[in-house]
Symmetry: C2
């Protein structure tokens, strides 16, 4: 009986294992050339998953440098760190591109509070990037809740001396969370510009997240062409605080909200893009850019945004070198500075590319987090888009199914041209806005395998682009 049970339990165990078998590519469906590509792609994945460097690089960047907002001492440390790790990989050449960047500082931790029904509530807030400070005594005012810029604009003079509270939540029914972000972020970026015009005392904006929690999400804002005297302080409040405030405003519409923040925009500061390359073996004048951004918001450690993109980009070069796979064209790794509040690094990079008459044939950016791979978004002409989509059978065994037309990324998009093939790496997005621009964006939120699979995914598409894309036409900027 025991023996029967033993084999029964073993056979159940085997069912349980067999059911989860690896599905290799059916070699019979591949041409000889595709088999060779398939082998090289497998090599990238094997190396990343067994000898990857990205996770330890990320640990170093996030835990020893930490948050690294443009202009900060940490951003300068990150530049030095970037040179160091590029040297470790042994790139053919490494240099810094000087660029002046905005220098906004948060100052002391923000505070916010209101009292309703005799109960004082402390509210989790943080200043938005580029916001002015409140007066030293803070701002105390009644609150008007709105769901859109249009609704705010329609208030006109009614918002004078009030705090305007933007509270349109993410549409959680959208499967791709970046779409929900795109549907809300106008409140954060433009809210203060609209309300400053009508004499509001400040704006508070519901945090950009799918979840209900008590972490405020910072991010950039702009006063547009509003005169300086109309600039009003702008803060993000946590989604939980937004829900509570909205309820409290129903029972107590005249409650007064208080907040105080101490942020300041200092004069522009010198900084750098960090650049390194593997020189092409056949047509080194043709360049593929692979990059992420080195700066991050100050609240967390800049792990998923965008430490992961930085270390994955460098790991692309490492995977080529470690496996002695020599690209025909030049693979250039760029750690862009200042994506978060200005994209000055991206602009400088494109400006120099024009100035130096460089021939960019393509680019790949990783700035959507370091979660498990899902695919790529392609910003290219139809022929090249079709070509990239034809690689699905080589890429889908690695979970790379979503290979669709779309944008690439903020740092490489200034290179956009009919003949330049730009690609954005697209990992799974479900958890991304739990961490984005908050104190929770820390190293421990990144999974080693997910990160490494991303590096190998990126190396694979760079390998295919290097081999099969032609880049005869110089980029026209």
């Amino acid at each position: 009986m025991k023996k029967i049970l033993f084999f029964l339990s073993l056979s159940l165990l085997m069912i349980s294992c067999n059911e989860k078998q690896e599905k290799p590519i059916d070699d019979n469906q591949l041409t000889a050339e595709e088999k060779s590509d398939s082998t090289n792609i497998k090599t990238f994945f094997n190396t990343a998953l067994t000898n990857g460097k990205s996770y330890e690089w990320l640990r170093d960047l996030t835990q020893n440098v930490g948050g690294r907002l443009s202009g900060s001492p940490e951003a300068q440390m990150a530049v030095e760190w970037g040179e160091k790790v590029m040297n470790e990989v042994g790139l053919d050449s490494i240099w810094l591109q000087p660029v002046m960047v905005p220098h906004w500082v948060r100052g002391e931790k923000e505070i916010a509070t209101y009292t309703t029904n005799g109960v004082q509530k402390n509210v989790a807030i943080c200043a938005l990037g580029f916001s002015v400070a409140t007066p030293n005594s803070g701002v105390l005012a009644e609150v008007i809740e709105v769901k859109s810029l249009e609704e705010a604009e329609a208030l006109g003079d009614k918002m004078k001396d009030k705090i305007v509270f933007f509270n349109r939540p993410f549409d959680n029914t959208l499967i791709h969370t970046f779409k929900a972000y795109g549907g809300c972020v106008d409140q954060r970026v433009r809210g203060a510009a609209i309300c400053g015009k009508f004499g509001a005392k400040g704006v508070i904006v519901r945090s950009m997240t799918n979840s209900i929690d008590d972490f405020p999400h910072t991010g950039t804002m702009s006063y547009g062409d509003l005169p300086a005297e109309q600039h009003i302080p702008a803060a993000a409040i946590s989604s939980l605080a937004a829900e509570n405030l909205s309820k409290d405003l129903i029972s107590n519409p005249n409650l007064k909200f208080y907040f105080k923040q101490n942020c300041e925009t200092l004069p522009d500061a010198p900084s750098f893009n960090v650049v390194g390359e593997i020189r092409g073996s056949e047509t080194p004048e043709n360049i593929f850019v692979v990059g992420g951004h080195l700066d991050s918001w100050d609240l967390g450690e800049g792990a998923h945004d965008d430490g992961t993109g930085v270390v994955q980009s460098l790991e692309v070069a490492y995977l080529f070198k470690k496996n002695n796979i020599k690209p025909k064209n030049t693979i250039r790794i760029v750690f862009f500075m200042n994506e978060e509040n200005g994209t000055r690094g991206a602009k400088k990079y494109a400006e120099l590319a024009t100035l130096n008459k460089e021939n960019h044939i393509g680019g790949l950016e990783s700035d959507s987090g370091g979660h498990t791979p899902r695919g790529f978004s392609i910003d290219a002409n139809s022929a090249n888009t079709t070509l990239l989509q034809s690689w699905k059978k080589l890429l889908s065994p690695y979970g790379l199914h979503d290979i669709e037309k779309g944008g690439s990324g903020a740092d490489i998009s200034p290179l956009k041209d009919e003949n330049v093939t730009l690609v954005g790496y697209r990992p799974d997005s479900q958890r991304y806005f739990d961490y984005h621009h908050t104190s929770r964006d820390t190293f421990d939120k990144v999974n080693k395998r997910e990160l490494e699979l991303g590096s190998a995914s990126m190396a694979s598409i760079v390998y295919l682009m290097d081999k099969y894309l032609y880049g005869d036409t110089p980029v026209k900027l």
Copy 2:
């Protein structure tokens, strides 16, 4: 200039948002019937993502009941919890299926240590399920490291009075982590049966995980038909401890390893499967089973294994009822007892199905964690496999690309028959073995959206199976 910068930054922002646009199904590619299906599927996802219940159910089960090994008071609490939540959903009928289950208890926390080069090292271990205890004084012996059952068997009498250390790691190059698990778990299940035969004093087995960390992973083992006097204690040691011990054995091959554990197998205990159903509107005699397992290992909270499968299964019923979508056939939700160490609940369920001449036409199991959806594994005849794969265009917008032939799950596979279509839900597996069977398998590791997307994915395939699969032939068990 400021205005230019404002619009430039806005346009960059828009690029950054547009590039991540939701890609809806192209309606022109769908038949009228498929459009209706597409609408219902979207409804499942919208409801799960905005009014889902699974996350709060999971919080309750994991945090108020906790780990719930078969035969424990917590397992009985989980049964009562199961009845309660099924009642909340308002299923047409709810009942318990009595089943006798193994009752193994861990006892006091295990300890393990060894001394090398004058340094005493404490080792993270845990007893394997069904293992005997060590003597009260523990086991102290020299260690022989092996990488496989074959290597152990070949040692023969050389292992007498020794501790055999099974140290074959996961193959991290396998993209699907369950495959790596399948390639190692024989060491855990059968190691002690082989070594007990030759008079070893105990076995210690490297934890079943992709990562290097200090958490021991428990799991079931078996002595097979070995006489009781040859049963030797079996423990898992953390992957980090395994790496260190392996190194220390090189410099100090005669080091003595000590461990002590206090576990015990008590007489079988009474327990239950919890069952509830929505009665079919047209052919209620045809049954689809949807389930996960209610029991869990004792070390954590049984969150990903398999609290998520339990709450997702119930959410399938909730999504049908909430949206007033009436299945033609009966949808039966089952919380199986004792998947982890015996699958007695599964066997009892299948036995009763035969006894009661029930006509099962299909089943769906969720027991691979609660991470982001990837697809389904199909265990069915060719015609039905092809039919399920034809639904890819309806399912792929939700990240469900991997719809392949394979196994289903340990709890529904006893229903296997040529005419029964069994399906396993397959979420992303990259992080799963970071938590599996450890103290880390806790509620906080589950992401709300990922969990809810899984529920809706499951409801969608049940909806399609209910509508399009015919089940004229009774199940033959």
